[in-house]
Symmetry: C2
C-alpha cells in the first residue's frame, strides 16, 4: 500500500478532521527520548526506526473522524469531543500493535511492525502504554466542557465497546481452528471486533454533542451499520484486493485461513462436495497458492463477491437512513452519504 | 512454591481481607463458559485448565489488602474501597499475564501460565480483557458512595500509577542488554515497576477514606517505602530463596541475567577485576550453573545479602514511621508493623 496522505481522502469527513486528529495525538504522546516513547512515535509514523523524523500518515483515522463528525453534527462544533476522538484513535492503534503480535504480521502500512523491530516483549508493553495514554485523554473531557456525569458515561461507554472489541478479537483467533463458522457467528464476531468501536465513535460524539436520546440513537444505529460495511469491505479487499493498493497479494486472507465473509458465505451456501472441498482446504496446515486459486474459482462460481458487495451496500444504506431525521443538518447527511460511497468503493 | 492458602498469612492485614477480595473478584469475572473467560478463571486459580473447579489461592493480594487497610484506617470501614481494591488487584494480575509472555515463564504459583496453556495470542488478549474488567470495577466507586469528583480523582491516580508501572516494566526489559546499571537506575526502575502500584494502593484507600491531605500523604509515603521493601525482598529471594519455598532454584534471577538489587549493588561496589568479572558473566549469552556459583561466591565476599536486608529493613522502618501520626488509630499502626515484619522475613 502507498503511504496514505490526508488530501488523498475524497470524502470530506476523513479529509476535514485528519489534521485536527494528528495535532491532538502529537500533543498526547510524550516527545521524550526514552525508547518506549520512541516506539510509539514510530508506530504513529512520525519517526523512522532510527529516530529520524518522517511524516507518514498511517491509516485513515476513521474512528476519530466519526466521533468529531457526530459531535459537530449534533452540537455545531467538534471541539468538546477532541479528547474522546483521540482516545478512540489511540485505542484503535493500540489494538493494531497487539494484533500484529498475535498475527505475527511483519509489516503494516508499508512499515515494519513494532514487534518486528523491537521484539515481542517491548511491543507488548508499548501497546499497553498507548492504551493508558488513551485513558488519559479522557481526563480532558471535563476540562473541555463536558459535564462530569456525561464524561463518566462516555468513559463507561468506551470501556464497554472496547471490551466488546477485545472479545471479538478473541473470537477471531478462537474460530481459526474451526473452518466454516456460520454467517451468524461471523456477523457476531465482526460486530464485536470491528463494529463495537466504530459504533461507539459516532455514539460518543453524539453523547458529547447533545442530550437528545433520539439523535444519539440515530448515530448509534448509523455506527453499527458502518461497522458491518467497513469489515465486509475489508474482507472483500482481503480476498480480491489488488496488491498495488492493499500491499498484500490477492487471496491473502485465504492463505491465512481467515474466517472472512467470502469464505463463511461460500461454505454456508455451498453443498456436499463443494462444501467439503472448502472445509478440507481450510483444515490443511498450510494453504498453497494452488489451493488459493481453487478457492477463488469456487468463490467465482458462487458469485460471492457480488453478494458481499450487496450486503455491504445494504449496510451502507442503513447507515444513511439512520441519520434521516429532521434534527440532523442536511450538510451532515450529505457528508455521511459521501463517506458511505467511499467506504463501499475503497481499494485500500 | 506450595499453594498459598489465606490462613497461612501470619499478618492480619493479608489474612483479614483475603476472602473479601476473593469474593469481590469472583463477582467481577463473568462465569460464562466462553473460552476467554475460562482462561481468566484459570488465571485466578478457580478452575483447572480443563474447566474443573479448584480452589487455589494464587498470590497474596497484597495490593488490594493495602487499599482496604488504608480505607479502613482512615474511615473506620473498608467497604467504599472494595471497587478500587478489586481494580488494583486485577491490574496486578493482568500485568502478571503479560509479564509471563514477555519473560516466557511457563509456570507461576505452581501452575502453568496462561500463554503456556493457550498460546501467546490468546493470553495477550485475555490479559487485555482482565485489564478492562479492572476499569469496570472503578465504575462502582460512585455506586458505593464515593462522590463523583473523588472517584474521578481515584481513576486518574490509578491510571497514572499504572502508567508508571508499565514504564518500569519497559525499563526492566530495556536494561537487560546493559549489565551493571547503577543503583540509582535500579531504584528508579523498581520505584516504577513495583512501587507505583503499591504506593497507589495505600494512597487510593486513604483518598476514598478521608479528605485529610496530611493523612493521605502519610499513606502515600508508607506505600512508597513498602514498594522498595517488597521488591528488594523479592530480589533477595530471587537469588537466595530456597527452591521449596519459591519454586525456583537458588540463583534463578542470576541465571536470567536480571538486573536485581544484589547484582546492581555488587557491580557498583566492586572494583576492577571483580567488577569486570561480574559484567563479563552478565554479558554472556547463557549463564551456566558454574557461573551462578561463582557469582554467588562474589556476592558472599561482598556481603551483599546482609546489605540488601539492611536496605529493606530501612524501608520497612520508613513505612512504619510514615504512619506515626495521631490521627491514625493505634490498632492500624500495629497492623502495619506486623505486615512490615512479614514482608521483611517472607520466604515466598
Amino acid at each position: 500500500m502507498k503511504n496514505i496522505h490526508p488530501n488523498k481522502y475524497p470524502t470530506s469527513i476523513l479529509h476535514k478532521y485528519q489534521q485536527i486528529i494528528e495535532k491532538s495525538l502529537k500533543q498526547r504522546i510524550p516527545k521524550n527520548n526514552s525508547e518506549v516513547y520512541r516506539t510509539l512515535q514510530y508506530s504513529m509514523g512520525w519517526i523512522d526506526k532510527n529516530g529520524n523524523k518522517q511524516n507518514k500518515s498511517l491509516g485513515k483515522s476513521l474512528r476519530a473522524s466519526l466521533c468529531l463528525f457526530a459531535c459537530e453534527a449534533t452540537h455545531g462544533s467538534y471541539n468538546a469531543s477532541i479528547p474522546a476522538a483521540a482516545a478512540i484513535e489511540l485505542i484503535h492503534k493500540f489494538s493494531l500493535i497487539h494484533d500484529d503480535i498475535q498475527d505475527k504480521d511483519q509489516f503494516r502500512h508499508n512499515q515494519a511492525t513494532l514487534w518486528h523491530v523491537w521484539g515481542i516483549p517491548k511491543a507488548l508493553i508499548s501497546g499497553n502504554i498507548l492504551r493508558i495514554i488513551a485513558d488519559k485523554c479522557l481526563e480532558d473531557l471535563v476540562r473541555k466542557g463536558t459535564n462530569i456525569d456525561r464524561a463518566l458515561f462516555v468513559i463507561e461507554n468506551l470501556t464497554q465497546s472496547y471490551l466488546k472489541m477485545i472479545e471479538g478479537q478473541y473470537l477471531d483467533i478462537y474460530y481459526e481452528g474451526f473452518p466454516g463458522i456460520s454467517i451468524e457467528d461471523y456477523l457476531n464476531m465482526i460486530q464485536h471486533k470491528t463494529g463495537a468501536l466504530i459504533k461507539s465513535s459516532l455514539q460518543i460524539g453524539a453523547i458529547i454533542g447533545t442530550s437528545n436520546t433520539s439523535i444519539i440513537n440515530s448515530f448509534s444505529e448509523c455506527g453499527s451499520a458502518i461497522g458491518y460495511l467497513f469489515q465486509i469491505r475489508d474482507d472483500i479487499l482481503g480476498v480480491w484486493g489488488k496488491s498495488k493498493h492493499t500491499g498484500k497479494p490477492v487471496g491473502s486472507d485465504i492463505k491465512r485461513k481467515k474466517n472472512s465473509f467470502p469464505i463463511c458465505y461460500a461454505i454456508s451456501n455451498s453443498k456436499n462436495k463443494t462444501k467439503k472441498f472448502l472445509i478440507d482446504i481450510y483444515s490443511k496446515k498450510i494453504i498453497t497458492d494452488e489451493d488459493v486459486n481453487e478457492i477463488l474459482n469456487v468463490l467465482d462460481n458462487l458469485k460471492v463477491r457480488k453478494h458481499a458487495e450487496t450486503i455491504a451496500t445494504h449496510h451502507g444504506q442503513k447507515a444513511i437512513n439512520a441519520l434521516n431525521q429532521k434534527n440532523i443538518p442536511h450538510a451532515n447527511k450529505t457528508q455521511m452519504n459521501e463517506l458511505v460511497d467511499f467506504l463501499l468503493s475503497r481499494n485500500y
